[in-house]
């Protein structure tokens, strides 16, 4: 909308001097371009309509009904929403999702920053090796990752407890103890997400003009000062982008707890999407899970909108 308005406001003065004929000509070409544009976006719009917009509308419709797939949906008003909002397990899952974000996103950003700093300061060959190495986890399926880490966390015979045993430490129930389980899920989440985050960070770091660093060096700035006054400010927009994508990915994490713990022990790894999935899987009627999904959408949308607002204002400053 904003882009269209901007275009119109820019083109309007140009057509004034040409009179009616010029306006007609311009309208003709504008119309022709518009038609091509509509043709080009038609497949995307149709697919979006079929797979996103219509299901979303239908989901909203169904959220006000009890539906078991076998009988006609029965209208229940706001009952599904009140059931979800009054369910302490739903709010616990949302809260756990935010805790999981705090456990994963800052660590991932920090590690990616250190990794990127390393990559830009070594030889080209070493940088390529490092980049390939860090990206490998990204192309591994999260289900495979879950299985690998479940084996590492195995109570009896797992790699981690075997390593601890060397130092005389008793085995720890990494995914069996509510105190450890969420952290145990967070580690593979960071491992999986680090590759892409790091590469984006590297790309952003390479884009910083070297003149800045040369000038700083001439002024006698050390590494910390260069980082604080050049690198970090220049990475701000990329950092914010990674923050919001990391936030959305982390709070929607689903496969790791599903495969590794099933949401246990004692719901300590039941993240919001797994909570909804468990209801979808176990409930005879689907109204509750749809209402919960829509409410999660509202929560995520609100937080994302706030962060996006932050990102936009930074771009304007640039």
């Amino acid at each position: 909308m904003t882009a269209t308005q901007t275009m119109m406001s820019e083109t309007k003065p140009m057509i004034q001097p040409g009179g009616r004929h010029a306006r007609r000509q311009h309208a003709k070409y504008r119309y022709r371009d518009g038609r091509i544009a509509y043709f080009l976006i038609l497949p995307a719009v149709v697919l979006l309509g079929i797979f996103v917009i219509w299901p979303a509308i239908y989901a909203i419709y169904l959220s006000f009904h009890d539906w078991s797939f076998y009988k006609d949906p029965e209208f229940v008003g706001w009952r599904n929403f009140t059931n979800v909002l009054n369910d302490p397990l739903f709010w616990a899952a949302i809260g756990r999702g935010f805790v999981f974000v705090l456990m994963t996103v800052p660590v991932m950003l920090l590690l990616a920053f250190f990794f990127a700093s390393l990559v830009v300061s070594v030889s080209r060959w070493a940088a390529s090796t490092l980049k390939v190495s860090i990206y490998i986890p990204t192309i591994i399926s999260s289900v495979i990752t879950s299985i690998i880490f479940a084996l590492i966390y195995n109570y009896s015979g797992g790699l981690l407890n075997a390593a601890l045993a060397v130092f005389g430490i008793d085995p720890i129930a990494w995914i069996g103890d509510p105190a450890w389980a969420l952290l145990a899920i967070a580690v593979p989440a960071v491992w999986l997400g680090l590759g892409l985050t790091s590469l984006i960070m590297v790309a952003a770091m390479i884009d910083i003009p070297t003149e800045y660093y040369e000038a700083a060096a001439m002024e006698g700035a050390n590494w910390w000062q260069k980082t604080a006054f050049i690198t970090l400010p220049q990475l701000k927009n990329v950092g914010l982008y990674l923050l919001i994508t990391g936030f959305v990915a982390a709070i929607q994490q689903f496969e790791l707890p599903l495969v590794m713990t099933g949401g246990g022990p004692l719901d300590s790894t039941t993240l919001p999407n797994l909570f909804i999935f468990n209801h979808f899987r176990n409930d005879i009627n689907v109204g509750y899970s749809i209402a919960a999904a829509l409410l999660l959408f509202v929560v995520l949308g609100t937080v994302s909108a706030l962060v996006f607002k932050f990102v936009n204002s930074e771009r304007l400053v640039d």
């Binding site: 195995n154 109570y155 009896s156 015979g157 719901d267």
Partner: protein, 448 residues
Amino acid sequence: MHKRYSRLAVTAVATAAVGALLAGCGAGGDTGDNADGVTTIQFWHRTFTPVENEWYADIVKKFNESQDEIKVVDTEVPADAWDQKMKSAQAAGKAPDIYTHPGSIQDAVNAGQLHELNGIVSDDALGEIIDAALPVSAVGDTYYAYPLLLEPQTVLFWNKDMLSAAGLDPEVGPATWGELIDMCAEIQPTLSDGQYCISPASDAVTFAWSTVGQQYNFAGHTALTSDWTAPDINDSGYKSLMESYKQLWDNDYMPKQALAAYVEGKDFGEEKAAFKVSGSWMMSEIGSDYPDLLGKTGIGAFPNADDAEGDTATTLGNFKWVVDAKSKNAEAAGAFLEWAIAGDPENLVPFFVNTQFTKVPVRESVQEAVAADAAAADAPWSGIIVNDIAPTAIPEPTYPWDVSLAVGTAMESVMKGAASVDDAIKTAEDAINTVIQRDDLPSKAPKS
């Protein structure tokens, strides 16, 4: 003109792309009548043990070869993907015509999911179902499911060598929880690192379904009052059950993290536990995956509470075959069902023999045919399961899963020290009361 053709081409490509995608999305299993008059029906079953999977594949093949009017397409679905695959198929209106179904049928009947078997399966075949299997087969006089088997869900297995090493009688398991704790005290000093006295259920979900029989054993009732108007878990029986598991946990008699799933015998097979709690089906896994252990595996009823109120500590699990209410070929599905599991007993003998006689047939004629098999003499545990454990076992509860889960969560909380017994019971009562109100349970209570 050229540009017009270009636009047309773009439109055509876009339309074709969308059409192809939609066609792909709509693709499902073939079902219905073919041009040659053959009716094709879809049959889904879960992945069970290898010998069970072989039986399923074989019975479908034999049926298809036995006649030329109905073609059954068999699909084996991994057990952990079953729920989501079935839900997706139901949502798309593409549920299979006939499929396996565990647990109670009440919720599915209420939801209109199951086709009545009366009319598509003969009355003689329906009349053969033994009384113990009726609660999972029929509601009133209407049959909705035909059970393939019954199986106790809580059975105690023990490693005779490990009991002998502790100076205990390897042929006799503990009869009560007190005896179990005493035996663990004897066994623990003889164990190596990574070995434990017992591997029982240890998480909320498993507690929820596998301890209903134990709840009945300790308290004399299950989690709801008989009229389903209130939770019924705040008594000495439930408290004692929770504290019993806490005793196993606090004394390190059980691992702090499950060594294997409750339903599988991997930890027992690898001799990491002297006792293993699982369903009777585990003996079948021991037979196929750890044959050397078969001869030194003891089996018995799960221990009773020291002052037991009920006469069993297990529920009777089951797997049934059901016909989907939306099936367009219900009669063909009924014909297949009747031929495969409600007809000639010899069709079923390989199933029960190859699963090591660990499951109970639901027809007397099949029970007799299985007992007459030559291999039965080499399976002494069969008598324990069929004669000692199954007859007193109670059916699985018909109340909603969330009620069982609330109790399971309370048990795990107490066992792991996350909550006191009173707090855990209070939390579970609140959760159960929510379910009672949400689902209007009093109106759905079984009529006595």
